[in-house]
Amino acid sequence: MAETVNIYFGAMSLLTALGDKTATLDAMSKGVGGLRYSGRFGMNAGVIDGIDAADGATRFETLAVSQLERVLAESGIRLSDSDTQLVLSTTKGDVGLLEGAASSNAIPERAYLYNTAMRIAGRFRCANRPVVISNACISGVSAFVVARDMLINRPLRHAVILGCDVLSEFITSGFASFKSISPNPCRPYDAGRDGLTLGEACGAVVLTTDVNYATRPLVRLTGGAVTNDANHISGPSRTGDGLCYAIEASMRQANVTPSQIGFVNTHGTATLYNDEMESKAVALAGLGGTPLNGVKGYIGHTLGASGVVETIICIEELRRGKIFGTLGYEKQGTSVNVSVSPGEQKIYGARCVKTASGFGGCNASIVLEAGESEQMEQAEPSGKPEPSGKPAAECTKRNVAVAGEYSLPQSEQPFGEFIRAEYKRLGEPNMKFFKMSDLCKAVYIATENLLRNFDLTIYEPARRAIILANSVSSLETDAEHQHIIDRHLPEGASPAVFVYTLPNVAAGEVCIRHKFQGDNTFFIEDADSGLSEEYARHVIADDKADIAICGWCDKLGENWNVNLKLLRIQ
């Protein structure tokens, strides 16, 4: 059965403000952090020193290639083999390349995220097209969820997960406009926390279904889920329900209960609202008494890369049987009690839940488990049916039907006039519509038409998914934000623009409008390869959702191409 495939962690490598994996782990076990004042950015940050652009590659590419080279050399896996898949996750990729590119028609080819992925893939002669995920700050954790799905559903033996984000004025000015940066190194979960500290990081991990390529002691990826708050595009949920759903769904897949979880590693950004939301979600999921830690006090908030880098740290913690403390934490500072670990602590239980949450209302959770599969140990000697195995019904694939399709029409009118007319035609006022980026408006209008006359009410919010893909990411809004910061206005950047510099916010707007709380994943490609539909079909077939919107959504200048499909369980 597909779902009983064991997925092991193989070679891993990372680079943070504290150095490579060995240096990072050593510093953390001594309680030493890597956050320093950066003159370049005018704030505290976790900056990687000593890596520069080289050989015609950008700094981002140099970092990514260096970490991939390490894990490929160590594991003996080749990306040129057809059974091996590269998965790249990043919040903003090489967006620093936009500096000086004032308008959207001056966007350099190199700044297109899929071009970055292709250049990296080209270095390793990848047999398969790289899969690129840009899901705001859950990107890294999201990549594990997607890779797990692909290892189960595609003819693959290995996946190599790369997570990379680097700092630029684009990023630092954007977070500054949200007033979410702490004047001091961040203090996750602490009563005195007053904001996050940004960082940069790159990590690479081999995931394999072949135990011969697993590194010891064995750790497996046993569950993973992505959800949406369907509440607000930038503000964390006030209830924590979205993140709680993700944690519960990932534990269900892993077939474990809260008492079997040894520790929880959360996103822990140290903003007032994020940590408050997480504490509610963790308690709601039954993990309030489970040791919890966050690592951003050591290395900063490394955006989408954080999911990959922090998962590597979790794997090492599981192997050591003890977790690092939460640097900066002294006194409980959330309204719901959770068991934040102030210092190094022994853990009981071989499993870990790792979570992330991000703009667009997205949440992700994965379950890691140390040791060999219990099913294998028990099934072989006794020959009996697996006691902890899933019932046969759950392992069969469910049938998926197409419930509707919609393409946003082309028009002689400029996009602004066209989309306004389309909005009027809906006859349903929404105060938020004119605040949205053009990409979001296009997706919003297409979705309204796609869902017209469709009865959503019979589907639970948590069983509604939206899986989108495009080639332009949010480049149009990225250029707008860059244009604002290039002018160095005394009042700084605009939060209402910056929030739309994340492509997945287009899915987030739909989630809010129609209460979609299930999987919401955003892929970047060069052209529509059918990836979003393939993944959406898996989400329904594998019982993670009952309906899913999927498809393509490009909008740049006067060119748009939005083709959506609605899938449902048959």
């Binding site: 607000h232 006022p429 005394p490 009042e491 939060p495 929030v499």
Partner: protein, 84 residues
């Protein structure tokens, strides 16, 4: 004061993309947040920018913003007292 209120309404409409709203639709004494205009936390951050950009006022912290941001009138009163 009347003139400032009118000007403030126009800034709000322009900077917060309230495209369907005319200045006379905004009741100067009604709460800005909550139902009426559908403003949210991002809009609050944008209002901080309006104060800085047009009136040279820098709010020290977002905690003090709440009573000031209650209505167009409270905003106008704050600007009168603090503008540079």
């Amino acid at each position: 004061m009347e003139q400032l209120i009118q000007e403030l309404k126009e800034h709000l409409i322009e900077e917060l993309n309230l495209e369907e709203i005319a200045p006379e639709d905004i009741d100067a004494e009604a709460p800005l947040f909550g139902d009426g205009l559908g403003l949210d936390s991002i809009d609050a951050l944008e209002i901080i920018l309006i104060l800085e950009k047009f009136y040279g006022i820098k709010l020290k912290n977002s905690a003090e913003a709440k009573p000031i941001f209650y209505s167009v009138k409270t905003l106008a009163e704050y600007i009168m007292q603090n503008r540079k």
